[in-house]
């Protein structure tokens, strides 16, 4: 007879995953900002000079990767319980 794994483990794991996904989401702008500043350290002139078109391609590629990463993380994320409408629920049984 097969024994199913106890569900709490599974639940905890998913909650844990959710938390880490939020951490990924928080880290994305930081990582993005650092990578955006990276071309500033590339030489603009001299023998190893990098051409403008390469910088352009790098920046747009970075942009696309950031968009994709955000898309994937957001898809994974369970929606936060949004606050209900400001109006409190009507109560039945009014006299």
């Amino acid at each position: 007879m097969m024994r199913l794994p106890p569900t709490p483990v599974f639940l905890a794991r998913s909650t844990y995953r959710q938390r880490r996904m939020r951490d990924v989401l928080r880290s994305l702008p930081v990582v993005g900002a650092v990578l955006m500043a990276l071309p500033l350290m590339w030489p603009g002139s001299g023998p190893d000079a990098i051409s403008l078109s390469h910088v352009l391609i790098y920046l747009f590629a970075l942009w696309a990767v950031m968009i994709l990463a955000t898309f994937v993380v957001v898809r994974w994320l369970r929606p936060d319980p949004s606050p209900a409408d400001d109006a409190p629920p009507p109560v039945d049984g009014a006299v």
Binding site: L59, T70, P79, P83, D86
Partner: protein, 894 residues
């Protein structure tokens, strides 16, 4: 070559199309079909007002002048959107829970609903937005001038000015028409949002079309374009690191602080989940918008004659290549970018100006404050409309004064730097409980002054506002105050210099002011609510006890929220407390809720001030402050749980108490009625007996006999009427009545009722709006008429005004049609409103009434049978009754 007239025609058709779309969206929203208007796609597209004409035209010019630096303007917001979990999520949640109407409202509300801070933030917003609005007008007129130029004519200053005036006038019309339909800024502007979403698609499509044409049509593919880029004058990668980082930061910060972005990001947000979608979709939009900027710039530099304005390459390159259709599309794209930005920016600024400057001044002027006569709603709407005209007028004046000419990018960056001065107060306010009003005011003031001194004023050119001598040597020869070398920091890029000093000193003043000052209780409460918005969204109480009457509150709320909305709010609150009718108990929770609803219309500071005039309780108590303290969080939670339990018991107790009061009152009334009814029956009986005895015994003359018989007849009739009423009521109550439904219109019924009461001949003046009364009815018309007759007759009998007047209003509330009968007498006391519908109840002297007090009871039974309702409507000045007409299916259910 495109004829100028064709172009104007196309533009007008496009504008007419936008009007149509906006109108359609408003119509659908009114019918409650707004779901599709509020998808995350529309939300994302509405954010695109970040891309103004500056993006559409200016980005190419920027790239042609300074290479890749233009990207910082889009990379900054990308980082903010991707990092939405940090700041935006919090802002949106705060905006929703606190019913924030604008950026100034956020600042004012956070720092203890301070009017002064709201004024300061509004001032900064208006000053920094004016050049930006001028910039949009300039770009539209310049693009028109390009087409005129292609016809071989040249526009002078006069033509440019009049074109700008036309554009500004048209935009004002659109914005007033669709931006001030609702007072409540939280009731979103469906028409405008949809129009903006359409414009977002148009401008993206236009820029992509030009880009694709340039890359594959002119340059000959991706490879040749890239080599063209590397061979162009901007091929050198020598980006200043300071400007790159500084501009990315300013652009990201401005994305949060621009009033128009705050409007679409926070105020118009209808669902927090849309933010998650926009977090990747909006960066995608930005990326597509900037994808072809460099190719267009490079190709433009290549094919256009030297000295042509790179800001207009998006238009001039297709024109030079003979692609007229593309040029027109591109013109529409630029037009869309400019107009959508102007519309939203104007609405956002007008909301700020009316809520934080006009209304507070007006309230102070009228003195009598919240309970004054007149319609506050109308004043606020008018203020908002005038503000729209004023803001656009300022933009136009700036356009006239500056005379154009400055590169688009320069104006945009100056504006960004100015608006970012709100950032420390905003970010500090939502993350740091220690920030105070004094700190926020100090930071914003210092930042704004430094911005004006180092960047804004010098931007008009040397000797225009700031003399060259001051630029070189500083005011009064004080070298360390030189606008572009503050504190001896010379050799820095002027823009970077301004960003650095203004924000550094702003943040320092904000911090120092906050640390050294002590916040008021209200500030501490608001601070806790803003900073801990995710921990306990439950509202803390800012009003503890109140001396206000529910009816006074209703009168005030009706003037601000509108009659229907206010009545619905009061009714739902009463139902929540377990009461019927429109007047809930004035609990602190209810006062808070009401204040927040009103803040959605007139801003937190004004709403608070108006409530303060009515609710004269101490507004923050020691208990509330304990609730704020962190140590008390656990106690708070425990007491919250207790409160939830006791709230239920409260409701039951309240319902029981009310029922008991009603029973007691009824029992007294019943006793009174019994003696009353016996009296009513006896009086006619006595006269009948007496006169019939006289007749029986003979003696009176023939004349006298006829007179006596007449009296006997009249008295017998009175008895019959009384018995009829009693019988009618008992039949209705026992449900034995048979209804005979037929078709008719409300107007005919009201005509009949008015005629039957003879009200046309009496002193009572009846005010009707016959146009509203064309409502088809399918119900028992005779019974319904009986109810109307009763209400009109009541007004005839009881209205005690010197010139009695009865207003009959027909209107729709939700899916129902209601008929309000409102007279101008002195109304019915709150205590008596509970019992008037009960049998045998009569409030005034019975002689005058001439009935047994059964009319309203019968009316209520009838309306119940018909599937409608009748109730007393408080707060209307006089006695007011609301008849809810039965819906079409009401009888079928019988």
């Amino acid at each position: 070559m495109v004829s100028f007239n064709v172009l104007v025609l196309v533009a007008l058709l496009y504008v007419a199309f936008l009007f149509f779309v906006a109108f359609l969206a408003e119509r659908r929203a009114e019918r409650g079909k707004s779901a599709w208007l509020r998808t995350s796609v529309v939300y994302t597209l509405s954010l695109s007002i970040y891309c103004t004409a500056w993006t559409f035209y200016g980005a190419v010019g920027y790239a042609a002048r300074s290479g890749l630096e233009y990207l910082t303007i889009y990379l900054g917001p990308t980082l903010v959107m991707v990092g939405w979990w940090w700041v935006l999520r919090r802002l949106v949640r705060i905006g929703r829970t606190q019913r924030i109407t604008s950026l100034a409202d956020l600042i004012s509300s956070r720092y203890g609903k301070s009017t002064a801070l709201g004024v300061l933030a509004t001032f900064i917003a208006v000053v920094t937005a004016t050049p930006y609005l001028a910039l949009q007008l300039q770009s539209v007129t310049l693009s028109l001038a390009v087409f005129v130029g292609s016809e071989g004519r040249q526009w002078g200053a006069d033509e440019l000015n009049s074109a700008a005036l036309w554009v500004a006038g048209g935009l004002a019309l659109f914005t007033v028409a669709f931006g001030t339909r609702n007072l409540d800024a939280n009731e979103r502007h469906h028409g405008i949002v949809i129009a903006i979403a359409v414009e977002a698609v148009v401008k993206l499509a236009a820029l992509l079309a030009v880009g694709i044409f340039v890359v594959w049509g002119v340059a000959g593919g991706v490879g040749p374009t890239l080599s063209l880029i590397d061979a162009s004058p901007i091929s050198q990668w020598d980006q200043s690191a300071g400007r790159w980082v500084g501009l990315t930061f300013v652009a990201g910060a401005a994305f949060l602080c621009l009033p128009r972005m705050f409007q679409v990001l926070v105020v118009e947000n209808s669902d927090e989940r849309h933010l998650a979608t926009a977090s990747w979709a909006f960066p995608l939009y930005l990326m597509l918008m900037s994808l072809f900027v460099v190719p267009i710039a490079v190709v433009g530099l290549n094919v256009m004659p030297a000295g042509s304005n790179p800001d207009l390459f998006v238009l001039t390159v297709p024109l030079a290549e003979g692609r007229n259709g593309l040029a027109i599309l591109s013109f529409l794209g630029g037009f869309s970018s400019a107009t959508s930005m102007v519309i939203v920016a104007t609405i956002a600024l007008a909301t700020m100006v009316s809520n934080h400057i006009v209304v507070p001044i007006w309230l102070r002027q009228t003195r009598r404050g919240a309970v004054m006569s007149g319609d506050v709603r109308y004043v606020v709407l008018l203020a908002r409309r005038l503000s729209i005209l004023g803001v656009l007028g300022l933009g136009y004046i700036y356009f006239r004064l500056s005379g154009g000419g400055t590169a688009l990018a320069a104006i945009g960056l100056i504006s960004f730097t100015g608006v970012v001065q709100v950032l420390p107060a905003m970010i500090g306010g939502i993350f740091w409980r220690g920030s105070t009003r004094v700190g926020a005011a100090a930071g914003m003031t210092i930042g704004f002054v430094i911005w004006a001194w180092t960047l804004f004023l010098p931007s008009f050119g040397a000797d225009a506002v700031v003399p060259q001598a001051v630029l070189d040597a500083g005011p009064w020869g004080i070298a360390w105050l030189r606008p572009q070398a503050l504190f001896g920091v010379s050799g820095m890029d002027p823009l970077l210099h301004a960003i650095f000093w203004s924000l550094a000193l702003n943040a320092l003043a904000f911090f120092a002011g906050s640390v050294l000052s002590f916040p008021t209780p209200m500030e501490r409460l608001q601070g806790a609510q803003f900073v801990n918005v995710f921990e306990h969204s439950a509202d803390t109480r800012t009003w503890t006890r109140s001396t206000a009457e529910a009816e006074d509150l209703l009168i005030m709320a009706q003037r601000i929220l509108g009659a229907t909305e206010a009545q619905t709010l009061f009714q739902s609150e009463a139902a929540r407390q377990g009461k019927t009718g429109y007047l809930p108990d004035v609990t602190p929770g209810f006062v808070d809720r009401l204040e927040r609803e009103m803040a959605g219309s007139v801003g937190a500071a004004t709403a608070h001030a108006m409530m303060g005039q009515l609710v004269q309780g101490a507004n923050v108590s020691v208990e509330d402050l304990i609730a704020v303290a962190d140590e008390a969080a656990q106690i708070l939670e425990y007491s919250n749980r207790l409160e939830a339990k006791s709230a239920e018991q409260d409701r039951t107790a309240r319902a029981l108490r009310e029922a008991n009061e009603k029973l007691t009152a009824l029992s007294i009334q019943k006793d009174a009625f019994l003696s009353q009814i016996s009296h009513e029956l006896r009086t006619p009986m006595t006269s009948i007996r007496a006169f019939s005895e006289i007749l029986r015994d003979g003696g009176p003359s023939r004349n006298e006999a006829a007179k006596f018989a007449g009296i006997i007849h009249n008295e017998a009739q009175r008895l019959t009427r009384l018995l009829d009423d009693l019988l009618d009521l008992s039949v209705l109550e026992n449900g034995q009545v048979t209804l005979s439904p037929s078709l008719g219109t409300l107007r005919d019924l009201l005509d009949q009722a008015v005629a039957a009461t003879g009200a046309e001949a009496s002193v009572l003046r009846i005010v009707r709006r016959r146009a509203d009364e064309a409502v088809a009815l399918s119900t028992d018309l005779d019974r319904l008429t009986q109810v109307f007759i009763n209400l009109i007759a009541n007004a005839q009998k009881y209205c005690d005004a010197p010139a009695p007047e009865l207003r009959i209003d027909v209107r729709r509330v939700g899916a129902q049609t209601v008929v309000d009968f409102i007279d101008n007498g002195h109304g019915i006391e709150t205590a008596s409103q509970q019992v008037i519908f009960e049998k045998f109840s009569r409030l005034s002297d019975q002689r005058k009434a001439g009935g047994a007090g059964l009319g309203l009871a019968i009316s209520r039974e009838i309306m119940g049978r018909l599937g409608g309702a009748i109730s007393y409507l408080p707060g209307q000045g006089g006695a007011a009754f609301r008849v809810v007409l039965p819906g079409p299916d009401a009888l079928a259910a019988e």
